[in-house]
């Protein structure tokens, strides 16, 4: 059976190699083989590995050929259909299910070819050494993380996401990617071969991803010992090779120069935008430069921002974005000048409006801000750019120290006494809660100009008896840790006078925390929809900005919201994670970046975006199907009939004693009992069954299912071509893709009303439920097989003319060069498929019983467009629009 070959490359340092192997062998190595490639070690590696002979295949090389040729030797030694996993010997496998989680990521999309993981340095620092990186085209310094900053592990980048490149200290490479791209390029000895491989794959439409669910320990450079400049010489030689191939290409990927004029320190909200968006815009093809609007001490650890600050050019930038308090807007210097800003009031100061007149376009985070600028007389076109959540850093799994007494913690932040009104919050909090209640308020006083007045004002308020209030002041922390502040509490309170955009408000929801905020300004619509709103008592004038009004939070309302959140906490927690996930999906900072790119390109001062290569699909490879057939279809769709037809063509469904025969289908299901049991167990382990499919599954359930299916495949492999069939596979077939060798999927479809009515008659389901199940099974099955060889068989057409249908199915399968099948004799076909089998005929009309999406699905099946590649369809429709 196909699996994965794990290739460990070693050059001396046997103790390190042994540590790697011992930790590796202690993990779940389902369907995996280990190969140790010895790059000419002379330190006892050969002798040491002898003790592992029954578990590790030893591939000795006569001399040190370097990383690339060493790994290529391992790839050559792998079985021809296996995926491969390249591994450094300085890795320590600290996660038992690492391989299966890599498989999940590798087969989540048809165009994924290369998968990396999060790599941590040694404890206690636990720095994230690698989480998917990029290479900048200025000096070709490859970076191991998106910001280039060395961060502590706070569960950042814990989702699977696409990246430009990964470090091949660990690289899962799908076989169809290897077939397409080949092995590593021996032009490199060591270094840069990984980035080169990922870029070549990208050129072929193959995606590189990082599986955020996998974290391993990596003692960097343990595998390439320095010997007085040896490593440096290797690096420089590889860099020169890389530059010759890619330097110009990477530069040409840019659409133009864009100057970000802003701040990386104060005010924090604007600084956060610089830190999170400059790198995203750069990754989207804008050559980003950075200039502060006021003197500041830059953060040298943020590689992306430091790089942007170093960049210069002679001409005026193609576009400039001033992202700073709007009185800086008149500093914009670009051919197209855009400003992003917000105020605290219902009408911004007039000098802001004058500064905005220097812009070609203004952006604000919400409609409230747009109105506040218009009220001050701004005539520059104003667009709304909602700011999403940085999901890489803000999610419910962010770890943080918690109150050791398990008290309920409200978190608030203060940086300006008048705007943030921490004094009102403290007074109201102490009035709301008794001293003996298990609740506290934690106020973080942000360092800055306003810190001293805030601290001086609130210190007397938190003294003495009463509900507990803690103040954290005079402490700055790296911005990437900000979600930990939210994670340390249960609710975030933004009961401010000012209506300016408070990034922590939305981030609190994304972290699964309750939000309490004044129903005013940029937080108004957010808190009304997702949080607990504090009413506005009255509008008042900001003494520092005459004529500008903000909102006085109503203390009775604030007290009620504090009490409400505290008392309903258990109920809120129960649904907070799902709530957070839904919120984050619709408030994504990457979408903000996409829209910002569109806006900056709106004046045509930037070049058009480069065309993306056509997305890779396994079907594009000229390799014959291996003879593994998977029949997919909803219950009562005729899958047994088609499976029987395939058996008559010559496919093997398993031994008779292994097959199920039930009273509802006396001719046989062609369904293996072991497969049926595995599917039942898989759905049950996730808390569901065939009629109530679960939305997700615990990783252990997926792993156990793969083990069960591996045994089924082993049973069938001696007799290709073979088939498996089980309706529940529609829901879980993606999970077995790593085990299948160039399979062909046969989708059996039937009129959904007939299917539903059959389920109503057999199982007592109501029709709506049955139709919903049909839609779910059908959509999931077609989604999982997208890009893989597949054919569609219509049950009604088969019943109407079984001989013709059999010939057509055979011809469809022959397109994939599937050997060993022949069209059965007509008698054999008609004795198996007879019209009487079509038990359920419906008089109902689709328009009366099917939903819009169900009718769309029926139409896509009817015209076979469901088999078309969605990427190809999108490209075709884009061309049509063009």
């Amino acid at each position: 059976m196909r699996g994965a070959t794990l290739i460990v490359l070693a050059w001396n340092q046997w103790p390190m190699t042994r540590r790697c192997l011992d930790s590796l062998l202690a993990t779940d190595l389902d369907a995996a083989r280990i190969v140790l490639v010895d790059n000419g070690s002379s330190d006892g590696t050969r002798e040491g590995i002898a003790a592992y002979a029954d578990r590790v295949r030893y591939v000795p090389l006569g001399e040190n050929l370097g990383f690339v040729r060493g790994m290529n030797a391992g790839i050559a030694a792998a079985p021809a259909d296996d995926d491969v996993v390249l591994l450094n010997n300085d890795l320590v496998f600290t996660q038992s299910d690492w391989l299966n989680r890599l498989r999940d990521a590798a087969y989540a999309a048809p165009d994924t070819g290369i998968v990396g993981c999060r790599q941590l340095g040694p404890p206690p620092e636990n720095h994230v050494y690698h989480s998917g990186g990029f290479i900048e085209p200025d000096d070709l310094w490859g970076q191991q993380n998106e910001s280039g900053e060395l961060e502590r592990d706070i569960a950042q980048f814990s989702d699977t996401r696409r990246v430009q490149g990964i470090a091949f200290a660990l690289a899962y490479i799908r076989r169809d990617c290897l077939d397409r791209i080949g092995a590593l390029d021996p032009m490199f000895h060591s270094y840069f071969e990984d980035t080169d491989y990922c870029l070549r794959a990208a050129d072929a439409g193959i995606a590189t991803v990082v599986a955020g669910a996998v974290t391993l320990r990596h003692d960097q450079h343990g595998s390439t010992q320095d010997d007085g400049g040896f490593r440096k010489r290797l690096w420089e030689a590889s860099r020169a090779s890389f530059a010759a191939r890619w330097h110009q290409r990477l530069r040409e990927n840019y659409r133009g120069n864009v100057l970000w004029q802003g701040t990386t320190r104060f005010p924090p909200a604007y600084a956060q935008l610089a830190r999170t968006l400059v790198r995203r815009l750069d990754a989207r093809g804008l050559r980003m430069a950075y200039a502060p609007v006021a003197a500041e001490t830059p953060n040298p650890h943020d590689f992306r921002l430091a790089l942007a600050a170093r960049r210069t050019w002679n001409d005026t930038p193609d576009a400039a974005l001033v992202c700073a308090p709007p009185h800086h807007f008149d500093k914009a210097r670009g051919r197209f000048r855009v400003g992003f800003g917000f105020g605290e009031w219902d009408r911004v100061p007039e000098h802001w409006a004058r500064a905005a007149s220097a812009l070609d376009r203004m952006l604000v985070p919400d409609a409230f801000q747009a109105e506040a600028f218009r009220a001050a007389g701004v005539r520059t076109p104003i667009g709304v750019l909602p700011i999403g959540i940085d999901r890489d850093y803000c999610h419910p799994r962010v770890p943080a120290p918690r109150n050791p007494h398990q008290q309920f913690v409200f978190v608030a932040v203060a940086e300006d006494l008048a705007r943030d009104a921490p004094d009102i919050l403290i007074a109201t909090f102490r009035r709301t809660f008794r001293a003996d209640e298990p609740v506290e308020l934690l106020i973080y006083v942000r360092p800055g100009i306003g810190a001293v007045p805030v601290t001086d004002a609130i210190a007397p308020l938190i003294a003495g008896d009463g509900a507990r209030v803690r103040m954290l002041a005079n402490w700055a922390f790296p911005d990437y840790q900000r979600a930990q502040l939210l994670a340390a509490g249960d609710a975030y309170v933004s009961a401010r006078r000012g209506g300016g955009w408070d990034p922590l408000a939305a981030e609190a929801i994304a972290c699964g925390k309750a939000l309490i905020a004044t129903e005013f300004g940029s937080q108004q619509s957010l808190v009304k929809e997702y949080g607990h709103g504090v009413a506005v008592a009255r509008m008042s004038e900001d003494a520092a900005h005459p004529g500008c009004r903000w909102a006085e939070p109503d203390v009775e309302s604030l007290a009620a919201r504090l009490r409400e959140v505290y008392e309903r906490h258990d109920g809120l927690v129960a649904k907070s994670d799902a709530h957070a996930e839904r919120f984050a999906q619709t408030h994504d900072l990457d979408e903000t970046a996409d829209r910002l790119v569109e806006c900056l390109a709106d004046a045509d001062t930037l070049s058009p975006p480069r065309a993306h290569p056509r997305a890779h699909r396994p079907t594009a490879l000229p390799r014959p199907a291996s003879g593994q057939i998977v029949v997919l279809g909803m219950h009562r769709s005729g899958t047994s009939s088609i499976a029987g037809l395939l058996v008559r063509m010559g496919a093997w469904a398993g031994s008779d004693q292994d097959l199920l025969i039930g009273p509802d289908n006396p001719k046989g299901h062609y369904e293996l009992a072991a497969l049926h049991g595995a599917c039942l167990k898989r759905l049950a382990a996730a808390g569901g069954d065939w009629a109530h499919p679960p939305e997700s599954a615990p990783p252990a359930a997926i792993d156990e299912f793969r083990r069960d299916i591996a045994r089924v495949i082993d049973l069938l492999e001696p007799r290709r071509p073979w088939l498996i069939k089980e309706p529940r596979l529609c829901l879980v077939v993606r999970e077995i893709l790593p085990l299948l060798t160039r399979p062909v999927f046969v989708h059996v479809v039937r009129d959904p009303i007939e299917v539903a009515d059959s389920l109503v008659a057999r199982n007592g389901l109501d029709r709506a439920h049955a139709l919903a199940l049909w839609e779910r099974y059908t959509r999931e099955a077609f989604a999982a097989t997208q890009g893989w060889p597949r054919v569609l068989v219509d049950y009604a057409e088969t019943i109407a003319d079984p001989i013709r249908a059999a010939a057509r199915l055979h011809a469809d399968l022959a397109r994939f060069d599937l050997k060993g099948l022949k069209v059965p004799e007509a008698k054999a076909i008609t004795s198996w498929i007879e019209p009487a089998l079509r038990r359920q005929r419906s008089d109902a009309h689709a328009a009366d019983v099917l939903s819009v999406s169900q009718r769309e699905l029926v139409a896509a099946i009817a015209d076979r467009s469901i088999l078309a590649d969605s990427a190809a369809r999108a490209a075709a429709s884009a061309r049509a629009r063009g």
């Binding site: 502590r152 320190r265 104060f266 006021a294 003197a295 500041e296 001490t297 943080a400 120290p401 918690r402 109150n403 050791p404 102490r430 001293a435 506290e440 934690l442 360092p447 800055g448 100009i449 810190a451 001293v452 007045p453 938190i462 003294a463 003495g464 008896d465 009463g466 509900a467 507990r468 209030v469 803690r470 954290l472 002041a473 005079n474 402490w475 700055a476 922390f477 790296p478 840790q481 900000r482 930990q484 502040l485 340390a488």
Partner: protein, 99 residues
Amino acid sequence: MSATIDSGFIDAERLAALAERLGVSPRVLVAVAARIAQSPETPLDEERVVAELARARDASAATDTAVDLLLLGHGAYAEGDLADALAMVWSDRFSSTGG
């Protein structure tokens, strides 16, 4: 930019009064004092004070910014891990109020 200095370490009233007499902002005066303190070996006579004041006036924007940074306090630029701060806040040694 505000002409007052809010800090527990400086007598704001006396500083403001002296600045007014010299015709500069209190922030500029802080910068001048810092420059003088940086080179104690140079004699401090009226000529030097006048020269330093003139230099600070000529670079008023940069001087103001530098003083802003100074007044932010070390916490604004010296970063520590938030987890350490939170652990400290919730430790018994940290003085808290109420409860």
